[in-house]
Symmetry: C2
Subunit: 207 residues, 2 copies
């Protein structure tokens, strides 16, 4: 038996969070035991409690740690400045609908909201609310410029995100098979939405 080198506290903590996040995403908070988490992280159960005082605290650490959508917002901002509507919406949809996308965060988000975790709202805010608000602001500006027709910007933003999120729900949660490629799907959603929103319909694709 080769003797294992010890991990630093930070490494262990990161490993525990990764192992736990995957399990919580798969089976929810109540469906995951601390024993399983320890086993998945390759340590004893006691060590889990050396790093996190309670199971709930570990869950909270996961929700608090996970990355935001800043990366996406940066790319969107660039196209937004150029008023390239199609690219703005294609970027947003393509960020969520693409091959090999990880469903862990979506599952964690849904589980935390359904199970009523106290940090769920914060988690939702960091991952989604910023995106709605960003998009709604863009739509509002475009309406002011006369590029989009006059609709409630927040409802319009949610309508578009709704198409995308719903698509992910169907494929990642309900295992509905995709019958079109990722690109075709994104294009169709963007096309449908922009045609409904723009004043001078863009009808670029009629497939």
């Amino acid at each position: 038996m080769a003797k294992q080198p010890r991990s630093t506290s930070q490494q262990r903590q990161a490993g525990l969070i990764a192992a736990a996040a995957s399990l919580f995403a798969a089976k929810g908070f109540n469906g995951t035991t601390t024993k399983e988490i320890a086993k998945a992280a390759g340590v004893s159960e006691a060590l889990v409690f050396k790093h996190f005082p309670t199971k709930r605290a570990l869950y909270g650490a996961i929700l608090a740690e996970k990355v935001t959508v800043d990366e996406l917002l940066g790319a969107v901002e660039e196209s937004a400045k150029k008023r390239d509507d199609r690219r703005v919406f294609t970027l947003i949809a393509g960020f969520r609908i693409r091959p090999g996308v990880d469903s862990t965060l979506l599952r964690l988000l849904l589980f935390s909201a359904l199970e009523g975790h106290e940090l769920s709202e914060m988690f939702f805010g960091k991952h989604h609310r910023v995106l709605y608000d960003h998009l709604a602001t863009y739509i509002k500006n475009r309406i002011g410029e006369g590029g989009f027709r006059d609709v409630d910007p927040l409802l319009a933003a949610r309508a578009f995100i709704g198409m995308v999120v719903h698509h992910r729900l169907l494929h990642e949660i309900f295992a509905v098979p995709m019958h079109r490629s990722h690109e075709e799907t994104v294009d169709t959603y963007v096309d449908l939405f922009l045609t409904g929103l723009t004043k001078t319909p863009t009808r670029r694709r009629t497939r």
Copy 2:
């Protein structure tokens, strides 16, 4: 102490299913104990197991029993025959987005899919797949008649349902407040979608 009249087996069973459905919807399968279910139904825990061999069987009975969307489909069919596009989509959206709508079924659906219950797929099929297929068929027909432009009917159907389902997710699961009335919201979604889909834009409302 007034002596309680006994319930028939069917009454008890229905009462247990109602009590359990509410609890499972609120806290998920793993988050609900058989003790709680018994208490909510006003019986002893032992009686629960007289009616359902296991907790999971009770859960299954709930998913198998809950009503379908037949009611909605009937109303839709009527307007579909008249080719009243706006009414068809308004009916569908308004059926889900209305005051006092019950979130129990939506929560059960999400929980069962996330927790991977074997009957989840059947539950999903009875509540949603039929609706997609119905709507997709209608869209396909309208495309054939030249009323709608040429898009993938299934993707278009999902795009619309996506707006609606997403709206429910936000308000019923993530507790996002509504900033418009139910009617305004439905009208906006229908308007956005139909404008994107019809060949001769209907632009009836520009608010």
